[in-house]
Point group: C2
Chain length 193, copies 2
Amino acid sequence: MQDILFDFLSKYVSLTDEEKNAIVSLDIFHSIKKGTVLLEEGQTSKENYFVLKGCIRSYYVINGEEKTTAFYTEMEAFTPHCVVSKTPSEYYVSCIEDSIILISNSDMVEEVNGKFPKFDTLCRILSEELLAKQQIDFDEFKISSPEQRYLNLIQKRPDLIQRVPQHQLASYLGIKPQSLSRLRARILGKSKG
Amino acid sequence: MQDILFDFLSKYVSLTDEEKNAIVSLDIFHSIKKGTVLLEEGQTSKENYFVLKGCIRSYYVINGEEKTTAFYTEMEAFTPHCVVSKTPSEYYVSCIEDSIILISNSDMVEEVNGKFPKFDTLCRILSEELLAKQQIDFDEFKISSPEQRYLNLIQKRPDLIQRVPQHQLASYLGIKPQSLSRLRARILGKSKG
DNA sequence: ATAATTTCTTAACTTAAGTGAACGTTTTAA
DNA sequence: TTAAAACGTTCACTTAAGTTAAGAAATTAT
């Protein structure tokens, strides 16, 4: 299990056994059941997530309606806004499959980063990379129509379309579930002629 | 001029004179004329931007049409995707006002970061903060209609509405210029009753 | 200063998304 | 195992954005 993490990290920096032990000693490996809510609106959590297996989802609840904004799957990291801003969370995070998640506390991370400067470099590289990736995702969302976004999703994250309920996918694409159904029917009609 | 930068940085870390000199010696202060293109599609630049005064804009050109995806104004930093991914840029960056921009080369930054570990911490904090901020912006974009996005922009970045041409604002909001005109007329009608 | 270009707005028409409702299917819980 | 709830699709209707075109206003270049 830990090997998966260290294989991933080895792409960015090489870690000594001492450094690896420092990570392991944080005791961050967790098995999470489908449906578990990891973060609730209003909480000021300090927890960062890294998905080893499974899928977590972030969503707002507006007028009783869920608005899904992101899915994080294998080898993706997620630091909720409230952890950085130290203000109450405006959204929820929950687990949509039985998952194995690394959950680390910001205070712990800072402590370890203080001891091992290499971790600062690692975190910087990871968040710079994530920032750049997210910027591209945002750009693509802005310059695309809902239909283009859906087609784009089929290309880039085909797994999501299988493992995520339609109504969650719809709000992720910025539309209503009925519109996603219609849009899918439209595409199917086009490809048939 | 330099004071503006160091005042800003002092919010995150305290720098010694030696560290400040290291930054100054990079010779990164530039005066840029309105209309200057800083990055073209296809280029694999290594330049990072930090706006001290003025405004820069990133935009794609798709079928001859500009799609504006971001504006960066005073005290905002921007690292184009190509700098991180080391692949040719898919978008342009240009200056929409006479501006003073810090332009730094990634290689130089890495060299200086090697000498002064504190800079790694600084860069990590800045990019984590930026990532969190960007995530919120993306979330708000997804869960809002064009009209809500426009009203939101009036609240959050009223200056942009003054200093940016309508057609650039429109594509930033994910709609056509004609739709923005209509939307504004609609809002005006509502407020009058 | 004037001409050329770009920008902004308005309008009529088309296309697609939002809304409310119905209905069959699937999943969840008792 | 059944009842209840949630989910996905379809439909008719409404609302808003896309498109094409035209003209006024502002900006830029000569």
